[in-house]
Amino acid sequence: MLRYILLRLFGLLLVLLVVSFITFGMLYNVPGGPFDQYEQPLSAAALANVKAKYNLDKPFYVVWASYVAHAARGDFGTSYSAENKSILEIFQQQWGTSVQLGLMALAWSVPLGVTLGVVAALRPNSATDYLVRFVAILGTTVPNFAIAVFMTFLLSVVWKLLPTGGWLPIKDPRTLVMPVFIFGILPFGVLVRYARNGILEVFTQDYMRTARAKGVPFVRVLFKHGLRNVLIPLITVLAPIIPNALTGSAILEKIFRINGIGRYFIDSIGQRDYPMVMALVLIVTVLWGISYLAGDVLYTVADPRVRLRR
């Protein structure tokens, strides 16, 4: 097991190298540099000085190698746009909000999605089943920003119940309602679907019929045999859902004017803030890699028959 985990982590390092190389190569070829001047241009000598300071006068693979060497030691450099602030400092300021948003969204959508998925599966083709599935399909198909438009129009413009934006968890909790609800609706829909299908499938198994036939109470059958078999598909879908939730939503943060990391990333590209973009891409890649690894390890906990091998 330990060997497997170490191998996977080593693989993740290689992936990081490739991803950073691709991103770096693309960034380096972006039209318009971070120090292009349109009004009051710098003298050629001064521009050369600035470029030398940030290593931008060298070929791209040299800059990339130097970046990787620094990043390996935990030094992601300083942001170009927020002078004198290290990338890590900016992260601490911006990421907290995105994590709050993500955790709150998961806090309602994961338990509710699993519960309603199971409830729907226990009465297939009932009115409850159709209603739950309909909401789940809307949640997984309709784009987040479209849901945000409809809700803002109804709740803010027409009925004036909620503010149109902002993120003030303590001063005005009403600002949280729409972003948290909308951010959670996709995971909710996905979980309903997998929980429902998982339960429907397990209820066709012989051992379920045996357990019920020999008089095991229904609730016990459901929790001991039913839910246990839904765990594997749930781990599979949660592996991408969790890192996705924790890295913020560029769309919702833009719509509801929330100062989170997703919005910051979009702005960083616009400002050609290379170190910021690089650090974000790498951190997102690491989070995803670790999340998938954790999912694979959890398979062995959920189902002891699973053996990890590569």
Partner: protein, 294 residues
Amino acid sequence: MADSAPVLADAEARLGVSPAALALRRFMRNRAAVLGLLMVLGLALYAFGVPMFSEYPATNLKVTSKLPFQVAGYPLGTDIAGRDMLVYLALGMRTSITIATLVQLFVIVVSLVLGFIAGWFGGAADFAISRLAEVWVALPGLLFQILFIVVFGPTVLNLVLSIALLGWPETTRIVRARVLQVRHLDYIDASRGLGAPTFMIAVKHVIPNLLNPFVIAISLGVPSVILSESTLSFLGYGLSESQPSLGKLVGISWQYIQAYWHMAVLPALFLSLLMLGASFFGDGLRDALDPQSS
């Protein structure tokens, strides 16, 4: 339905009904699937039909009210630049449909070629393609697309490429797995033994074998392609100013939602309907072609 379908299929297959006819029958019996097909067809008819009868660009229309249902001749109102919404929404949907089609065509060609090469020849080619696909999946999707657009410019071709480049690994994997399964079937070995060229074997024997899962994957991917285009355009990294796009209209209309709600609500609504229709259709197609899966 789920329980009886395979048995029924067996019985009818023995009676000499072709699999395609069976799939069509299953599809037509599925109400959600038919509804999805009708939604997509209706919206496509609107998207490609309406602009033919109007003189676009009808910009700077001077009307007494921009809101819908207020001025005769402009049932959906006009936007802030004085464009007829009825026409603009059609053009925006035309963009969505065109881009989704181009992306999936690109994905079809790339994944058939790469998947076949990886599965058929194996060895170094397989290793290279499979590892590339694995690393590619690790790329953060939206970030990659935005970078791609910023680097290469907001044209239709680049938008198509940026979305398609993220779509190919999944379908390539499906093609490769299926090629591995069938490449040593007797009649394929025989065909090879007779000296048939590889390209001919691929087209005549291998591709027909993987058509079902492939068609399913391609059609289920359509809504996410439409989502990618509209999301990029919404964030301001999609098509350029002159190209109509529903996502872009929602993005710029956000600030006017108090006064001109229809500028944001209508494109969001049409986009949602298009995606719901495509999604119902894809699900129905999967259930029809692969009844065991549901």
